[in-house]
C-alpha cells in the first residue's frame, strides 16, 4: 500500500486572514497549558494531565483502602476516615479521572481531526468546561480537611445516610459533583454540535472513524441523564441545608425515589465511561493489525443499541431495595440484552485481528488485555443482571470486582493503550517500548491479583464498603492488597516513560504507525488549526490492505465538493 505523505496536505502557507486573531493573544510554549486556551488540542492535553493527577490521588486513596483491608480488623484509619476515603476514591476516579479523560481529553484532541475541522464547535464553552474541573476537584479534596471531614456516604450518597453524616462535607461533595456534571454537559453539547455540524464538506456520517460515533452516543447519554443527577443532588442538598423532606422518611420523603433518580444517571454513566473506550480501541486495533475495522455498520448500530438500552436498565442496581417484582423482571431482561450489542463489538474486534499483521506493541498489549478483562467483567455482568443471582451478591465484593473489571480492566487499560498510541502525535516523540511492556506486565498481573479474588470474597459473604471483615477472608484480601501494591508500582515506569520520552524519546515523525485516520495526516505535534492548508478528506479511515486509489487520500478541496453535482 502506498500512503500519501503528510506533506501532501501541507500546502504552502497562505497568509491567513486570521493571523493575530484570538489565538495570537495566548501564551507560547508550555504556558499555553496553564492558560484559558481555545485550542482543542491544548484543552485535550489539559484534561489529560489534570485527569492523571487525580488518578494518582484516587490511586493513593485506593491504597489506603487496600492497606486497611490487609487485616480483618479496623486498625489503619478510623472508621469515619475509611468511609471518607472510599467516598472520595469513587468520586475522584469517576468524575475527575475516567469521565474527563476518556471523554474530555481524547474527545477534544481527536474529534476535530476526525471530522476534518480546525477546532471544536464552541471553543470558549470548551475551555469553560475544562476550567470547571480543577476548582471542583480542589473543592472536593478540601472537604477532607474541614471540620467533620469529607462526605462519608459513598459515591452513591444514599439518603438517609447522606442526611445524617456530617453535613458540610456532604454539601461540598454535592457542589463539586454539580460543577463536574456541568462540565460534562458542556462537553457533551460541544461534541454533538461538532460531530453533526462541523464535518468537513464531503465527509459522510458513515465515513467517520468509530470514536466519533462512540462520542456521539456518549454525549447523547451525558446530555439526557446528567441533568437528572443534578436535579436529584439539588433536592438532596435542600434536604440537608433547609431540612426539606424530599428523601427524608421522617418528613414523609421516599428514599427509594432517590435511588431511581441517582441510577437514572449513574447507570448510563457506566456507558459514558465505557463507550468512548470502545471507540478508542476501534481506532487502535485496525492500525496495529493492519486491517480494516470489521463490520463498521454493525459497530455503529451496536453503539446506538447500547445508548438506547443503557437508558432503561438503571433499576438493576436496586434489585434488593424497594423494587416490586415486575420491575425486577423488566430490568433483568433489558440489562441482559445489552450483552448482545456489546458482544457484537467484541466479536468484530476479534475478526479485525483475524488475518491481520499484528504488531504486539504496548498499545496493542493494553488493547488486547482490555478485551480479556472486559469479557470477564461482561460475563459477570450478565450474571448480575439476573435477579436471583444478584440478590445474593448485590452490595458485596463480587460487585466491586465486576465493576473494576469493567471500569479499570476496560476503560483504564484503554486509556493506557491510547497514551502509548497517541503519545507520538501529542509530543512528536515515541514512548520507550521496553518500559511500556514492563508497565503492561505489572499492571495486568497487579490488576488481576487485586480484583479476581474479590469475586470469591463476595460470593462467600464479604459485603462491600466495610473496614473490617470476617477473619476467614484474610488471605484473599491480602492477595488483593498485594495486587493493588503492584498496580501502584506499575505507574512508576509509566511516569518515568512519559516524562523522559518527552525530551529524550525517539523522534516519531508525522505518522509512525502509517495510519490512515486524519490526525496522522499532519505534523506531530500538529499546528494550531490542525492542518496547514486544506483538511484531508478521509472517506476510508480503515482502508488498510486496499489499493491506494480506493482510499481517496488525495486533497479534495471544499470547492470541488460543492461544485460536484453528485457529492
Amino acid at each position: 500500500m502506498t500512503l500519501a505523505s503528510p506533506s501532501d496536505f501541507q500546502a504552502p502557507q497562505q497568509s491567513s486572514p486570521d493571523q493575530g486573531g484570538p489565538r495570537g493573544l495566548q501564551p507560547e510554549g508550555w504556558l499555553r497549558y496553564l492558560s484559558f486556551s481555545l485550542d482543542h488540542k491544548v484543552i485535550g492535553l489539559q484534561y489529560m494531565v489534570c485527569g492523571f493527577l487525580f488518578y494518582f490521588l484516587g490511586g493513593a486513596l485506593a491504597g489506603v483502602i487496600r492497606t486497611e483491608l490487609a487485616s480483618p480488623i479496623s486498625d489503619f484509619v478510623s472508621r469515619e476516615t475509611y468511609n471518607e476515603v472510599l467516598t472520595l476514591h469513587g468520586t475522584v476516579m469517576i468524575f475527575l479521572w475516567i469521565v474527563p479523560v476518556v471523554n474530555g481529553a481524547f474527545g477534544n484532541y481527536l474529534i476535530p481531526f476526525y471530522v476534518g475541522a480546525r477546532d471544536m464547535a464552541f471553543p470558549r464553552l470548551n475551555a469553560v468546561a475544562f476550567w470547571l474541573i480543577p476548582p471542583a476537584g480542589i473543592l472536593l479534596i478540601s472537604s477532607y480537611f474541614i471540620k467533620g471531614g469529607a462526605a462519608q456516604s459513598g459515591w452513591t450518597a444514599y439518603p438517609p445516610l447522606s442526611l445524617t453524616t456530617p453535613s458540610l462535607g456532604q454539601v461540598i461533595w454535592i457542589i463539586s459533583v454539580l460543577l463536574l456534571g456541568g462540565s460534562s454537559i458542556f462537553g457533551g453539547i460541544n461534541f454533538i454540535a461538532t460531530i453533526l455540524k462541523l464535518r468537513r464538506p464531503g465527509l459522510k456520517m458513515m465515513q467517520l472513524p468509530m470514536y466519533c460515533w462512540a462520542m456521539l452516543g456518549t454525549s447523547i447519554l451525558v446530555v439526557l441523564s446528567t441533568p437528572v443527577l443534578a436535579g436529584t443532588l439539588i433536592l438532596l442538598s435542600f434536604d440537608i441545608i433547609a431540612h426539606t423532606g424530599f428523601f427524608n422518611p421522617a418528613l414523609g420523603g421516599n428514599v427509594v425515589v432517590y435511588q431511581h433518580l441517582f441510577w437514572f444517571y449513574s447507570h448510563p454513566a457506566v456507558y459514558i465511561m465505557v463507550l468512548p473506550a470502545f471507540g478508542l480501541v476501534s481506532e487502535i486495533i485496525p492500525i496495529h493489525a493492519r486491517k480494516p475495522l470489521f463490520g463498521y455498520t454493525t459497530m455503529v448500530y451496536s453503539i446506538i443499541a447500547i445508548v438506547v438500552l443503557g437508558l432503561v436498565v438503571w433499576a438493576h442496581h436496586m434489585f434488593t431495595s424497594g423494587t416490586p417484582p415486575w420491575m425486577r423482571l423488566f430490568f433483568t431482561i433489558a440489562t441482559s440484552f445489552i450483552a448482545v450489542p456489546t458482544g457484537i463489538k467484541f466479536f468484530n474486534w476479534l475478526a479485525t485481528l483475524w488475518q491481520g499483521k499484528i504488531a504486539l506493541n504496548s498499545a496493542m498489549l493494553f488493547a488486547c488485555a482490555f478485551i480479556v478483562n472486559f469479557v470477564f467483567g461482561g460475563i459477570t455482568g450478565v450474571a448480575l443482571a439476573q435477579v436471583p443471582f444478584d440478590i445474593h451478591v448485590h452490595d458485596t465484593y463480587f460487585v466491586v470486582g465486576h465493576f473494576h473489571y469493567i471500569v479499570y480492566g476496560g476503560t483504564v487499560f484503554i486509556i493506557f493503550s491510547s497514551v502509548y498510541h497517541w503519545y507520538p502525535k501529542f509530543t512528536g516523540r515515541m514512548l520507550d517500548e521496553h518500559l511500556g511492556r514492563f508497565h503492561f506486565l505489572l499492571t495486568f498481573i497487579g490488576f488481576n491479583l487485586c480484583f479476581a479474588p474479590q469475586h470469591w470474597l463476595g460470593l462467600n459473604g464479604m459485603p462491600r464498603r466495610v473496614a473490617e471483615y470476617d477473619p476467614s477472608f484474610t488471605t484473599l484480601n491480602q492477595v488483593s492488597s498485594v495486587g493493588a501494591l503492584l498496580m501502584a508500582v506499575s505507574t512508576l515506569p509509566f511516569l518515568f516513560n512519559v516524562v523522559v520520552s518527552a525530551f529524550r524519546g525517539e523522534v516519531a515523525g508525522d505518522n509512525p504507525w502509517k495510519a490512515l485516520t486524519p490526525e496522522w495526516l499532519t505534523s506531530s505535534p500538529p499546528p494550531v488549526e490542525n492542518w496547514i492548508g486544506e483538511a484531508p478528506l478521509v472517506t476510508h479511515p480503515y482502508g488498510y490492505g486496499a489499493p491506494a486509489d480506493r482510499l481517496d487520500l488525495k486533497m479534495v478541496t471544499a470547492e470541488q465538493i460543492w461544485n460536484d453535482p453528485k457529492p
Partner: protein, 308 residues
C-alpha cells in the same frame, strides 16, 4: 491428508463446551447451602458459571491464537487482508448471544419464581399477623434497646402504615399468614438487628428459627437503609426506613450462620453483624418456651406509651 478446518472447529468447540461444563459443575465457589432457596440458586450459578467459562475460554482462545498466528513477521511491512465485514457471520454472532441471553433470562425467571419472587407481595397484607407497623418497635424498646428507640421516636413509619396498613413495599415471597409460618419482626438500626417474635413476645439480638418451617421476616429500618443478608441462604433484602419489606424463606440445615448488613450504613457498617441459629424443630420450641417472658402485661403497658 490435511484435516478440514470445519472439523477442527467442531472438535475445539466440543472440547470448550465440555471444559466449561466441567468447570461450572466441579469448581465450588459458594458457601454451604442452608435454605430451600440455596440449592435452586446454586443450580442457576452452575449454569451461568458453565456458560461464562465457555464464552471466556472461547474468546480468549481466539484472541491468543490470533496474536500468535497473525503476528507481524520481522521485515513485513505489508497490510493484512482487506476484509471489511461479513454479514452472515455478523448475523450468527448477533443471534448466538441473543439466544444465550434469552435462555439465561427465561431460566433465571423460572428460578426467581421458584424462590417466590413473583408472588404478589400484598396478597395477604391486611391479614398480617403482625400488628400495625411501628408497633413492634415498642416491643423492642421494652426489652432491648430503649436508648435507640428514644433516639428515633420521630420516625415516620407509623404514618405510612396508617394510610396503608400492612403494605409491604418490596421483598421476596409473601406472608401467607398460615399457622405454620413463623413470623418475625426485624428492626434494623445503627448498628444492630433486633428480632421480635410476636408469637411468644420475645426480643432477641440473634435470629433463632426452626429448620424446615417457613419463616417470614417483616423488616423495617429505624434510621438509615440497611440490608439483611445471610450468605448461606443466598438471600438479601434491603431494610428501609419508611417502607416495610418482607423476606420469606425456609431454612433447611441446622447450624449458625452470619447475618451481614450489606448496605453502607455508617462508620460501624462493617461491624453490623449478627447470627441466625437454625434449630431442629424440637430445639426451637424449647428455645421459644424458655425465652418467652413470663408476664405478658409489659406488652400492654408499652403499647399504651404515647407515640411522638
Amino acid at each position: 491428508m490435511p484435516i478440514p478446518s470445519a472439523l477442527i472447529t467442531l472438535l475445539v468447540g466440543m472440547a470448550l463446551v465440555l471444559a466449561g461444563l466441567w468447570v461450572g459443575y466441579n469448581v465450588s465457589m459458594l458457601p454451604i447451602d442452608a435454605s430451600s432457596n440455596a440449592p435452586v440458586y446454586d443450580a442457576l450459578f452452575k449454569v451461568l458459571f458453565s456458560i461464562g467459562t465457555v464464552l471466556f475460554l472461547g474468546i480468549v482462545g481466539v484472541l491468543i491464537f490470533s496474536l500468535v498466528r497473525f503476528r507481524r513477521r520481522r521485515g513485513d511491512s505489508s497490510d493484512g487482508a482487506a476484509i471489511e465485514g461479513n454479514l452472515p457471520l455478523e448475523i450468527v454472532w448477533t443471534a448466538i448471544p441473543a439466544v444465550v441471553v434469552l435462555f439465561v433470562g427465561i431460566y433465571s425467571y423460572d428460578i426467581y419464581e421458584r424462590m417466590g419472587g413473583m408472588t404478589p407481595l400484598n396478597d395477604h397484607g391486611a391479614m398480617h399477623t403482625a400488628q400495625p407497623a411501628g408497633d413492634h418497635h415498642h416491643h423492642g424498646g421494652t426489652h432491648g434497646s430503649k436508648q435507640a428507640i428514644l433516639a428515633s421516636s420521630s420516625s415516620a413509619p407509623a404514618a405510612t402504615a396508617d394510610q396503608e396498613p400492612g403494605r409491604v413495599w418490596a421483598g421476596i415471597g409473601t406472608n401467607t399468614g398460615e399457622e405454620q409460618t413463623l413470623t418475625v419482626d426485624v428492626t434494623a438500626m445503627q448498628f444492630a438487628f433486633i428480632f421480635h417474635y410476636p408469637e411468644g413476645n420475645i426480643v432477641s439480638g440473634e435470629l433463632h428459627i426452626p429448620a424446615d418451617r417457613p419463616v417470614s421476616l417483616n423488616m423495617e429500618a429505624r434510621d438509615v437503609i440497611h440490608a439483611f443478608w445471610v450468605p448461606q441462604f443466598r438471600l438479601k433484602q434491603d431494610v428501609i426506613p419508611g417502607q416495610p419489606t418482607l423476606l420469606s424463606f425456609t431454612a433447611t440445615r441446622p447450624g449458625t450462620y452470619p447475618i451481614v448488613c450489606a448496605e453502607l450504613c455508617g462508620p460501624y457498617h462493617g461491624g453490623m453483624r449478627s447470627s441466625v441459629v437454625v434449630h431442629q424443630p424440637a430445639d426451637f420450641d424449647a428455645w421459644l418456651s424458655k425465652n418467652t417472658p413470663p408476664v405478658p402485661a409489659t406488652v400492654a403497658s408499652s403499647g399504651s406509651t404515647p407515640t411522638a
